[in-house]
Symmetry: C2
Subunit: 102 residues, 2 copies
C-alpha cells in the first residue's frame, strides 16, 4: 500500500507472471482459475480475498461455481495491469496455498 500504483509495462507483466505460477495474461488481465475441494473452501477463500481487496480499495473481477473460482485482475483507472493487481494476486496465492486442490 506504500507505493503509488503504477501500470506495468509488458515486460513488467511478464516478470510478475514469472513469480505467479498458474497465472496468465488473458484479455489484458491477470487471470487464474482456482479449484478448491468444495464450495465452503472456495467461498472461504473469496471472503478472505474480499476483506483484503476492500482494505486495498482494489477489487477483483471473479466468477464462482461450486469449488471453482476464476479471477481476472486489472486496474481500470490505469488502463492495464498494475502493481495493485500483482499485490492482490500474491495475496490470493497466499490464501489459496493451504486450501487449493492438487
Amino acid at each position: 500500500m506504500a507505493d503509488r500504483p503504477r501500470k506495468l509495462t509488458e515486460s513488467g507483466v511478464r516478470a510478475a507472471l514469472d513469480g505467479l505460477p498458474g497465472w496468465s495474461l488473458e484479455n489484458g488481465k491477470l487471470h487464474r482459475e482456482y479449484r478448491f475441494k468444495d464450495f465452503v473452501t472456495a467461498f472461504g477463500f473469496m471472503t478472505r480475498v474480499a476483506l483484503v481487496a476492500e482494505r486495498m480499495n482494489h477489487h477483483p473481477e471473479w466468477f464462482n461455481v461450486w469449488a471453482t473460482v476464476r479471477v481476472d485482475l486489472n486496474t481500470h483507472d490505469l488502463g492495464g495491469v498494475s502493481s495493485l493487481d500483482v499485490e492482490l494476486a500474491r495475496a490470493m496465492e497466499a490464501f489459496a496455498k493451504t486450501t487449493e486442490q492438487g
Copy 2:
C-alpha cells in the same frame, strides 16, 4: 427443503418468473443482475446467499465485479431449472431488497 426438488416444465419456469421481477431465463438458467451501491454491499449480499446456498446444498453460478453481481441458477443433476433454483432466487430477492440500488 421439505419437498424433493423437481425439474420445472417450461410453463412452470414462466410461472416462477412471474413471481421474480428482474429475473429471466438465459441459456436454460434463471438469470439476474444485481447492482448494489458498492463492493461491501455486493459481497455482503453474496455472503448471505452463500450461507443459505450451503444450507440448501444448492449453489449459484455467479460473477462479481465491484458493485455488480450476476447470477445464473440451474440444477445440473436434473438438467434444468428446478424448484431449488426458484427457492434460492427468492432468498436472493429477500436479501437484495434492502440493499440493491435503484
